[in-house]
């Protein structure tokens, strides 16, 4: 069966904001010499098939033929391939690293797509149709029609216990997840509480246990019943998995040690928000420090609103 | 049939495959019975096959021909042909075997060894404990040894633990293979007393006692096995 051409997505934000930027030299086909969004159409179709399967079987890791990308593994080659495969001309792309739009990794991936596809990019969560992320889920609630693409280093949550791929597949197939709790047990026995703070394992749609990539567990509750589609790409490990919109995502725990997110005692030093994930920033050589939102977009928006 | 144990025309030989298949005959044409309250002592020189008869009755040696019938309540079981599980069940409930040697179990105290034997023989935990203490006391095993594993005991001390082990439960058929060999006169007298108590309770004994005093003290009948040894070649 031949795949139908990928349909263009109608632009969900018909009134572009002033912040919306265009890639340098962006043309309809992107920079000369590259196919739209870098990957050839055959590769994109292959990746889309994997994505469709991943959506059909939430939390299940679908193997795909990961391509060499013009960036090293560890820089988000999995996420970039997923983004390239789903990107349409009308999409608006946001890329964050931790929560920030302005780090090297985020900037270079955003620029990569601006040059190779010419799509609009943004730093505003509300304007984006596709958000590629490493480590964070934006604080601004996502909405229907948005797609969150995660860059994943190690997709297999059972890997730390079981090095054999044949065995981990078997464990997933039979839903034998007792070993997953061993990791949490070890945490409690060592630290008195579940000390895993990121890549905290979740059960998706009551079936597959999934590694939510190195996002802080603070963001786990945002994955649950999210209106947005969540896609996960691991380039080196060649796996794609997905959480469809409005799917249950439950963080594993014990009855007497229930799942809890990190709590921050102080509000953000810049925007004053509480209930956001904060980064510690060292401000001088004498150990001075402050805590600020890791999500730079919401923080800047709040500061700007306060100034008005 | 009232006999507890009946040998019917039993024969036994050993085939030594490692020595070119040479056949060593042990006994032949063995027929004897042990009735409740009876202590049948096997007589005859060493090498005549006395121990082999006891071991066959216990299922420890195979039996080449004939039948060895053991009464188990209302039924009779041919030990010569019994399935291993039936044999194990008989050993647990019906047949006690006391040899000269205690097979030492590492790290288990003397008292526990005896008590465990009682429980294996169907006694309750409390009953087994009480009887074990009583028996070790009657057999003059010093209190200080009770909590120690018998591995380091002298031969006589080990033998007394072994006797207590063999006699603690209420099994109706006792097979005694020189249980008093290295005991002094006073302890032999205790064993004789214990045997009499078992007989009075309706048990039957098939035993080997080289010591004539002991033999005279317990035997109700002596069967000379020399004739079985002579019949073995036949």
């Amino acid at each position: 069966m031949r795949d139908a051409p990928y349909p263009e997505r109608p632009d969900p934000s018909p009134q572009p904001s002033p912040e919306r930027e265009r890639g340098p030299g962006a043309s309809e086909a992107g920079e000369a010499g590259y196919n739209f969004a870098y990957l050839d159409e055959g590769t994109k179709r292959m990746i889309r098939r994997a994505i469709l399967k991943a959506i059909a079987v939430p939390g299940y890791q679908v193997p795909f033929a990961s391509r060499e990308m013009p960036m090293p593994y560890g820089w988000g080659t999995g996420g970039v391939q997923v983004t390239a495969a789903i990107l349409g001309r009308a999409d608006v792309l946001k890329v964050i690293d931790q929560g920030a739009d302005d780090t090297t990794n985020a900037v270079s991936i955003r620029r990569f797509f601006a040059r190779t596809s010419g799509v609009a990019t943004t730093t505003r969560t509300t304007e984006a149709t596709i958000i590629q992320t490493r480590h964070r889920i934006p604080e601004t609630p996502l909405r229907e029609g948005q797609i969150l693409v995660y860059q994943v280093p190690i997709p297999e949550p059972l890997r730390f216990l079981e090095p054999r791929e044949t065995e981990t597949r078997q464990l997933h197939a039979l839903a034998e997840y007792g070993a997953m709790h061993v990791k949490l047990y070890e945490d409690i026995s060592r630290h008195g509480h579940i000390a895993t703070t990121y890549a905290y394992p979740v059960e998706v749609a009551g079936r597959y246990v999934m590694d939510p990539s190195p996002t802080p567990k603070f963001d786990n509750p945002k994955m649950d019943q999210s209106p947005a589609l969540q896609l996960f790409g691991a380039g080196r490990e060649r796996r794609i998995y997905a959480v469809p919109p409005y799917t249950s995502v439950r963080s594993l725990d014990f009855e007497d040690h229930p799942f809890r997110v990190q709590e921050f005692t102080e509000p953000c030093a810049l925007c004053g928000a509480s209930g956001h994930y904060l980064d510690e920033v060292v401000t001088d050589d004498s150990g001075g420090r402050m805590y600020v939102c890791s999500d730079t977009d919401i923080c800047e928006t709040r500061v700007a609103e306060a100034a008005r | 049939m009232t006999a507890l144990l009946t040998f019917q025309d039993v024969a036994k030989s050993f085939t030594l495959h490692l020595r070119g298949g040479v056949v060593l005959p042990v006994v032949g044409g063995v027929s004897l019975t042990v009735a409740p309250g009876e202590c049948v002592v096997l007589g005859g020189p060493s090498g005549a096959g006395k121990s082999s008869l006891l071991k066959m009755a216990y299922g420890n040696y195979r039996c080449d021909a004939g039948a060895i019938l053991v009464r188990d309540g209302q039924t009779v079981i041919d030990v010569a042909r019994a399935d291993p599980r039936v044999m194990l069940s008989l050993r647990a409930r019906v047949i006690a075997y006391v040899s000269q040697f205690l097979r030492v179990i590492p790290r288990v105290s003397a008292l526990d060894v005896v008590e465990a034997a009682g429980r294996e023989g169907g006694l309750s935990e409390d009953e087994a404990r009480a009887r074990a203490k009583n028996l070790l006391a009657r057999l003059n095993l010093p209190d200080r040894l009770w909590s120690l594993p018998p591995a380091t005991f002298s031969g006589g001390e080990q033998q007394r633990v072994n006797i207590a082990r063999g006699l603690i439960a209420d099994r109706p058929l006792l097979l005694l293979d020189e249980p008093t060999a290295s005991l002094d006169a006073s302890n032999r007298a205790v064993v004789a007393e214990l045997v009499h108590e078992k007989l009075a309770a309706g048990a039957g004994v098939l035993g080997i006692f080289h010591d004539s005093e002991m033999r005279d003290a317990v035997a109700t009948r002596i069967v000379d096995v020399t004739r079985f040894a002579q019949a073995r070649a036949a």
Partner: protein
Amino acid sequence: MSTPLLSAHGLTKAYGNRLACAGVDLDVTEGEVLAIVGESGSGKSTLLSLLAGELAPDSGSVRYRMRDGRSRDLAALGPAELRRLMRTDWGFVRQDARQGLRMAVSAGGNVGERLMGMGERHYGRIRGQALDWLGRVEIDAGRVDDPPSQFSGGMRQRLQIARNLVTGPRLVLMDEPTSGLDVSVQARLLDLIRRLSAELGLAVIIVTHDLAVARLLSHRIAVMRAGRVIETGLTDRVLDDPEHAYTQLLVSSVLAA
């Protein structure tokens, strides 16, 4: 006699043209310890793998009486059911503790894993059971958070036993559980296995090349040679009055078994 807990009929497995297991019949029931003895290469480890469903036989079958009382052919169980059986109703104590334990996970985590696999989700109860079992296998409670990589050989084997017995299995397979241990350590382990199997009424199938181990632990014995069971019966009878020429050789080759 009631149906045996496990029974094997005509188990046969060949590697190329070498028969590792040829028409083996055996059965075992609750409260019974069956020893399988033989030299290395006699097929006893292959037999254990066939019984455990780790290897598929070329012919023959293994039946097991499930907890509902029904006897099932292991080959007819799906992989999920078979694996669940293995980690709840069966135990497998390996010769090499590294194959039977998670070496980087604490002792408590090792014991608790099977409970978590059965759906226990209460940390306090899991830890309580782990501590209870460490006590029963004579491992100090203070070691509950240490990984077995820091344990001696004897402790590792005892930990394997605790890890297997915590779910209350009815059948435990053991593959040379005492080999490679010092004599005194061996004695302690043997005593523990003896005591626990009697107390819990376990059916145990133990593979060993050591006749002294077989004598101390087992009620019945099966002697294997070149893939066949050549002699079987009461342990003390087979060892004291061996019938088959090979068994006589085996018995005469060891000191005071």
